[in-house]
Amino acid sequence: MKLSVLAEKLALKPVTEMCDKEITGVYISDMVSDVIANAKPGDLLVTVQIHNNVIAAANLVDIAGIVVTQGKLPTEDVRKMAEKAQIPIFSTDLSRWQVTTMLYEAGVR
């Protein structure tokens, strides 16, 4: 499923420029080291982290996009870093659990 389609289905708010990619899986984590060790290329990362280390890790693993939950918003520096790495960030007021269930219902398995 394309990021743009998913963003529309879940009413995710883009906070960076859109760089549409195919999502091949989902990884939910707030630990940078966990993302590096266990996330897979093409995964959508669902997290509450907005630190620049998340972008460094997501770029290393080739994450397709990031959904930041609970209404958190990355700083301008982090947004610019993500755009340069072509990793779109979306924001939502939903919790990680709510996003997870909606992703499943949307057909992302």
Binding site: K21, T24, D30, M31, V32, S33, D34, I36, A37, N38, K40, P41, G42, V48, Q49, H51, N52, N53, I55, A56, A57, N59, L60, V61, D62, M81, K84, A85, Q86
Partner: protein, 179 residues
């Protein structure tokens, strides 16, 4: 960018733990080390002429690289973490080099190692750097995307292994202090 390396190299023996930062109350020297004990130690202790005191910690991990063709496993115990060029200071060599590389589709990271116990520099050897590049590039899917992991040619270890500025510096294997 699925490549031969994708099926050949694998991250194995992932160990979660903490990077412990400490300083010597007498000489004010500082150092850090990886600890995989469930409850990291925080007590002062003596070691020769030094009295080391806990100064802070951050969640981190260590791993080895398995060559699935030969069955050989290479340990990376000396690696502290990877610094993404964009997290380095804007006027630093790493940032400038990384910016040029990024414009050419290459994401640059520097592999920073722990110091030796005597405080001398430790740099990942060429073979380990080669394996790191093979491992991470072998996992990439985005066409044209490339990661270049360099040894610490930038003296980053002095900055990132000396305690409380460690997190802000942007080591990709470390966890930010706050969520």
């Amino acid at each position: 960018m699925a490549s031969e390396a994708q099926s050949r190299y694998k991250m194995v023996n992932v160990r979660t733990g903490h990077v412990i930062m400490e300083h010597d109350v007498l000489s004010h020297a500082a150092r850090s080390y990886f600890c995989d004990e469930p409850i990291p130690p925080r007590e002062d202790y003596r070691e020769g002429p030094h009295r080391w005191r806990y100064a802070g910690m951050a969640q981190s991990f260590q791993f080895d690289i398995l060559d699935e063709r030969t069955g050989e496993t290479v340990q990376l115990r000396e690696m502290l973490g990877l610094v993404y060029y964009a997290n380095a200071k804007r006027d630093s060599t790493l940032h400038r080099l990384g910016t040029i590389a990024h414009d050419n589709g290459i994401s640059v990271y520097a592999a920073v190692a722990y110091e030796n116990p005597d405080g001398s520099v430790r740099v990942l050897d060429g073979e380990k750097v080669r394996l790191l590049n093979a491992l991470f590039n072998g996992r990439l899917h985005t066409p044209g995307k490339k990661v270049l992991i360099l040894p610490d040619l930038f003296d980053l270890y002095r900055t990132v292994s000396y305690g409380d500025i460690m997190i802000d510096f942007g080591l990709a294997s470390l966890e930010p202090e706050e969520v």
